[in-house]
Structures are given as C-alpha cells and as structure tokens.
C-alpha cells in the first residue's frame, strides 16, 4: 500500500473529526486526492482553482524577483551612492548579488508573514465552518508583499492581513463570495491605519526610517530619502527619473509595482493562459489615457497654471501615468480578479475603463492619496455587480425587442 492510499484511508477513518478540514487542505495542496465523484457524469476541466491560482502566482514571480533586486538597489543608491543604472534593463550595476541579498532578507519575512497569518485564518475558519480550506488565499498572500513598502513593520502587516481576510472575505462567506479584493482591502487598511508607514519619502528605501530614528536619537548621520514619482509630482517638484527608468522599474515604490515591463510580461502570460481578462487590462489603460489626455488638454489650454497645486500631476504626459505608481500592477493583477471584477464581457469594458479613469482622477485631485489605483479598484469592485446587472438587463431588453419584431 502506497503513501497515497494510506493518506486516503486515514481521511476515511477520521471522517467527521473537527480538525479534518485542516488535514484535507494540506493533503489537497501536496497531492491530488484520489476521491472521485460518485453520481452522474462530470466534465472536468484541468484548470481548477488551484491551477488558476498557481498561474497567477507564476505571473507575479518576475515582479517579486525584480523587487528584491530593486530594494537592494534603492538602498545602496540612497545610502552608499553607488552608480545609477545606465545600460538598460540588464545593467550590471543593478543585478548584483549584494542588491539581491538586501532585498531577499527584507522581502522573505513579508511573504512568510503574509502567508502564515492569512492561511492560519483560513484554516481556523475552515475548521469552524467545517468545510474544505479554500485556495483563495494563495494569490492574495503573494500580492500582499508586492504592494507594500519595503520597510513596513511585520506586525502591522499581520494585523492588516487578519483584518483583510476576516472583514474583507470571511464575513462574506469566503473565497468567491467577497465583494472587495482582499489584497487591496489589506493595503487600504494599512494605508488608513498607519499612514506614516505607507506614504512619504522614507518608507520606500530599506533602512531610511531606521536612519531617521538614529538621527533623532542624536547620531551624526545624513538623512536619506527616496520619494516615489507620484509623491514628487504631487509636491510639484522635478522628477529625477527618466521614462525608461519608470518603464523598466529602477524607481522607488512598493516592492512589486515598479517594473512596468515585467508586469506587462506577467499580464501577457495571464492573457495567454486565459486567466486574466484582456478586456479589463486594455480598457483600464484606455480609461487612464483618456483622463490623462483631458488633464493635459486643460493644462495646454492654460486653465491650470504652474501656481496651482495640481499642476505637477496634471502636466505629466498622459502616458507617464501608465508607468508610474501602482497603475500597471493594479490593472493587471488586481482589477482582473475574477471574483470582484465585472463578469459580463461588456461589463468588463465599462468596469476597466472606469478603473483607469478614476485612478488618474484621484491621483491628480487628491495628492494626499497618491495611490488612486487602489481606491479606484475598490470603488469599482463595489459597483461591478451593478454594472453586470444593467448589462444583463440591456441584453434581455434587446432580445425582447427582437422577439417582438419577429412575431409582429
């Protein structure tokens, strides 16, 4: 008798025990259980929830690895004044083991806390409710470390994960029932609860906050900072980074959001695997471009002059908006979440367009919330069912009309 059957027998023997869902979860995660359905004929697709989740995680891995290098690069750039990248994406100054080491040891704890706490709660709820553990947290757990600043304290992340999973997901009935994207709920919680750790010019560079505290304690050191491009623009200052830097990702920001190039690759992979919706990605970009163009036109028409506090962000070339901040990451990995996005094809166009449109709107008009993408996606998550409702009703109406014409 093999291990597989042993495990199966173990499960049968302990049927009805309280802790069984937890065991089944690990079992399903490691092996394919040899349980078959007994009634009727079933057509089973190979792309079950687990595979869907794994595909999304695979699409995010390049961003994660790039984020590790970038964390070290930004750290060394700010602290030791190393040479800035010059030779395109494969600059040797960027891909050094030293850079990787700094980032790796900072980011791995974030990943572990995110998964440890999140899955822990999933297990607890599975045992209370007596159902199988859902795989829903696998993607969220990966998204969370990618959308927080590198220096976020681990306990804050843990508190936010508890809040996000319980209030954002479990109260609605668990995976597949949530209204809001759990990863963004977690980020929004952090953003409103601990704003000093989520914005400003210190948190994006590993060690900058600690350096500040050391200075406050009386040590004679130079303060370091690394502001995100959105933060710089909101204050109306000149941006020091080129568009190429923004596209390739050699800029300060949340861990996974900086490299638009790698996010695009991940997005293409998701589209190719038929998991992410290209409609949402495309229409979000369109929405952002339209809003950006409107702002550019307003500036060109002379309505907003340099004295206005909105000038910096409004005069940014519209296509820069696609490259900076979390826009690319949000639209590719967050807005496309199949549970919280619009379900109908037509609805996806409206939904995506509004996500892009509102993101840039919030970005420009509310510099206190530099990350408009997060709020825009959460807002549209709430409206997604409404959009779907009207799309479906519109279709019903159209068909009724057609029926009338035919029968008349």
């Amino acid at each position: 008798m093999g291990l597989k059957e042993n495990l199966h027998n173990f499960k049968v023997k302990n049927k009805g025990k309280k802790w069984l869902p937890a065991f089944s979860a690990i079992h399903t995660f490691l092996f394919l259980p040899n349980e078959t359905t007994h009634n009727g004929t079933h057509i089973k697709a190979a792309d079950d929830l687990k595979r869907t989740m794994n595909t999304v995680i695979m699409a995010m891995v390049p961003c994660l690895i790039f984020g590790m290098f970038n964390a070290g690069y930004q750290h060394h750039l700010a602290f030791d004044g190393i040479q800035a990248v010059s030779g395109g994406f494969f600059s040797p100054e960027f891909w050094t083991l030293d850079n990787f080491n700094v980032g790796f040891w900072k980011i791995i704890p974030l990943v572990l806390v995110s998964y440890g706490v999140g899955l822990g709660i999933e297990f607890i709820f599975a045992i209370i409710k007596g159902h199988e553990v859902e795989e829903g947290y696998l993607v969220t757990g990966m998204l969370v470390p990618l959308i927080v600043p590198i220096d976020i304290p681990l306990w804050m992340l843990a508190v936010a994960v508890i809040f996000g999973v319980v209030i954002g997901k479990e109260v609605f009935g668990g995976t597949g029932m949530n209204i809001l994207n759990p990863a963004l709920t977690i980020r929004a919680f952090l953003f409103f609860a601990y704003p000093t750790w989520m914005s400003g010019d210190k948190v994006w560079v590993e060690g900058a906050v600690a350096r500040d505290q050391a200075i406050a304690a009386g040590e004679n050191l130079d303060a370091v900072s690394g502001e995100t491009i959105l933060g710089t623009l909101a204050q109306g200052k000149e941006v020091a980074h080129s568009a190429a830097d923004m596209f390739l990702g050699f800029i300060p920001g949340s861990i996974g959001e900086t490299s638009t190039l790698l996010i695009l690759l991940g997005g293409l992979f998701l589209i190719f695997a038929k998991i992410g919706s290209w409609r949402i990605m495309l229409s979000s970009a369109l929405g952002a471009i339209v809003m950006g163009l409107i702002f550019n036109q307003i500036v060109d028409a002379g309505v907003i002059t340099e004295t206005s506090k909105f000038y910096g962000l409004m005069s940014t070339p519209f296509w820069h908006h696609l490259l900076i901040g979390g826009f690319a990451f949000g639209t590719v990995f967050m807005a496309t979440d199949p549970v919280t996005a619009a379900q109908t094809n037509k609805g996806k166009w409206y939904y995506g367009f509004l996500v892009g449109f509102i993101s840039i709107l919030i970005r420009v008009f509310n510099p206190a919330y530099p990350e408009g993408v997060m709020l825009a996606i959460l807002l549209m998550n709430v409206f997604a069912p409404t959009i779907d409702h009207y799309v479906v009703q519109g279709n019903v109406k159209k068909r009724k009309k057609r029926l009338k014409v035919k029968t008349a």
């Binding site: 804050m156 508190v159 209030i167 409103f192 609860a193 601990y194 000093t196 750790w197």
Partner: protein
C-alpha cells in the same frame, strides 16, 4: 421579587441584548458612528440619551390619551426638542469642552430614530411606569454598544482610555510604544465604527442563532 415584576425586568434587560436598538433594530447608527472615537464622548452621549428617552417616554405616555393622532409626530418632536435643549444647556454650563466635542450631535438626539421609535412603538400604548422602564432599557442598550465601540476605538486609535494614556506615551516611546507599537489611525475614522458595530452584530448572532433572519 421586590421592586420590579418579571415582566418589568424584561423591559430593561431585553434591549440590552436580544432586542438591542443598535445591533438588532439597527436604529441610532449615525450617532454610534460619529461620536464613538472617544470613550468619554460615548458615555456622555449615552447618559444624554438615557435622560431624554427616559423622561420623554414618561411624558408621551402621560399625554397619550390627549394627543390627537394626526399631529402626534409634531407633539413628540416638541417633547424631545425640549428635553434635548435641557441636556444641551446643562452640558454647555458644566462640561463646555465636552459639549464642543459632541457639537451638533447632542442637538441631533432629536433625530435619533431610537427615541421616536420608542415613543411610537411603546409610550403611546403603555402606562408611564412601563414606558419609563422601556426608555431606560433601550437607552441602556444603546449606551452599552456605544461604550463598547468607544472603548475599542479610543484604545486602539489613540492608545488612551477616558483620556488616560494606558498604552504608554507615543511621543516619548514608553510602554507598548517602546517596542514599536503604533496607534491605528483607521480606528478614529467613522468607517471603522461601522465595522466594529458589524463585528458586535456578528458575535451576537453567532451566539444566538434565533436572531439570524431567514432569506
């Protein structure tokens, strides 16, 4: 059984839990969200509502047979308004700072649905003693939730309770703050009050399944 009969006791205890005005009847939510960032404000608000609802119920109950039913809402409003003005003036005279914190919300007790709700549902149909007990019970039920919400919001949002720094000093980094703890700014925002009330409702309904509505 001395002071209260079994039925009368129920008038007070029911609204504390299984027929709570906030968590079960979902009345008076606005003030529960607005003024619970501090425990002190929650307590004063509860006492104010206790006064207004207790006496308001008695007054309406005494007048119940002479109020023409067509204009009863206006009469009720006048009674509440008179009581609220008393509360407001007392606060302004003896606790000016607090009355500034509560600002418009004392005045808004007039529009608190619990009060009009109890007048309509109870005081118009029952005698003054019973109405008084009902008013006390319901405002205590309201107060309990306000104080629970205020407790958690002030503790986690500002690290204080009734103004005393129980978790240490966030600026001098003493107590919990010395190990890196920080106040949760989200707790001070009204949406978090809604979430805390939601959690109370959740806990209450999972303890007593009879409260869960069918769909």
């Amino acid at each position: 059984m001395g002071l209260l009969s079994k039925k009368d006791t129920k008038l007070i205890t029911d609204p504390l839990a299984d027929n709570n005005p906030i968590t079960i009847q979902v009345l008076g939510i606005c003030s529960a969200l607005a003024i619970t960032a501090e425990l002190k404000a929650s307590i004063v608000m509860s006492i104010s509502v206790l006064f207004v609802l207790g006496f308001g119920n008695v007054i309406i109950s005494l007048m119940r047979n002479i109020i023409p039913s067509k204009i009863r809402i206006i009469v009720q409003l006048t009674v509440v308004a008179a009581l609220v003005i008393i509360v407001d003036q007392v606060l302004k005279a003896f606790a000016y700072e607090l009355s500034k914190t509560l600002s418009v919300f004392i005045g808004l007790i007039i529009t608190n649905c619990i009060i009009m709700g109890r007048f309509e549902a109870f005081a118009l149909a029952n005698g003054p003693w019973k109405s008084f007990l009902d008013g006390i019970g319901n405002s205590l039920g309201y107060g309990v939730i306000l104080i629970i919400v205020g407790f958690f919001r002030e503790l986690f949002g500002s690290g204080t309770l009734l103004g005393f720094p129980v978790l240490g000093d966030p600026i001098a980094k003493t107590g919990l703050y010395s190990i890196g703890y920080e106040n949760n700014g989200f707790m001070l925002l009204s949406p978090m009050a809604l979430i805390v009330v939601g959690i109370i409702i959740w806990v209450q309904r999972s303890r007593n399944k009879a409260l869960v509505e069918d769909h």
